[in-house]
Symmetry: C2
Subunit: 107 residues, 2 copies
DNA sequence: CTATAATATCGCAATATTGCGATATTACAA
DNA sequence: TTGTAATATCGCAATATTGCGATATTATAG
């Protein structure tokens, strides 16, 4: 039918898939890389840097933000995006546990 | 237009995205988890375990295999899938470097 | 060779994703 | 309030993904 059958899988499998989906687009990876560089980035600057239109960049930002990995705050008319390091570490841990657990079972 | 613009991003960003795409479906995560458990799994067994049809399961297996993470070998009429630990470690490293590098820049 | 069991591929329908232009919204300055 | 700069949202077309039934392929047993 064409819809991912989330309900038949474990919560853990869905969590990992959800996080991976955020990183499954090179534009979003590039955005995260760029935001890491500067402490607080403008959508406009990111858009220029990754060479995608402002609307497209904004949409990707929303997708990443939905996971909690990004936080933003208005200063003047501009919105400054930065990485929520705590969430970022949690995400890393989720992947790392998955990789480690799988590896351990193979040995 | 609806196509991911891979060419405008760095090779590294594309690599990470490609790998993440494999993990962006919970069925594929579940398959990897299950294959880790048994040393050499049949498509049939995996299909039953994750409760998706045999064709769907086989297709997911091909997608994962394309990255090199899975290897397979025929024994009798059956095909046994198992994880290529070396490739698995490389994949982990790729993610880990990305997470670490991003984190380092934030501090 | 023929039958059989296991897996892979094809073709399809439903849905999701990607990227953009046009437009709406937001927050401040004057 | 009005103008302005920055960001968010809408609506769309093109393409990609997901899952399945039907069927083809593959590898062995007899």
């Amino acid at each position: 039918m064409g819809v991912t059958k989330r309900h038949i899988h474990s919560m853990r499998a869905n969590q990992i898939a959800d996080l991976a989906k955020v990183l499954s687009n090179p534009a979003r990876v590039a955005i995260i890389e760029y935001i890491g560089d500067c402490d607080g980035c403008l959508c406009q600057d990111i858009s220029e840097k990754i060479r995608l239109s402002q609307p497209t960049t904004s949409q990707h930002l929303q997708v990443i933000k939905k996971t909690g990995i990004l936080k933003s705050q208005f200063r003047g008319k501009a919105q400054y995006y930065s990485i929520d390091v705590r969430k970022w570490e949690q995400a890393q841990q989720l992947f790392q546990d998955f990789f480690d657990a799988t590896k351990a079972k193979c040995i």
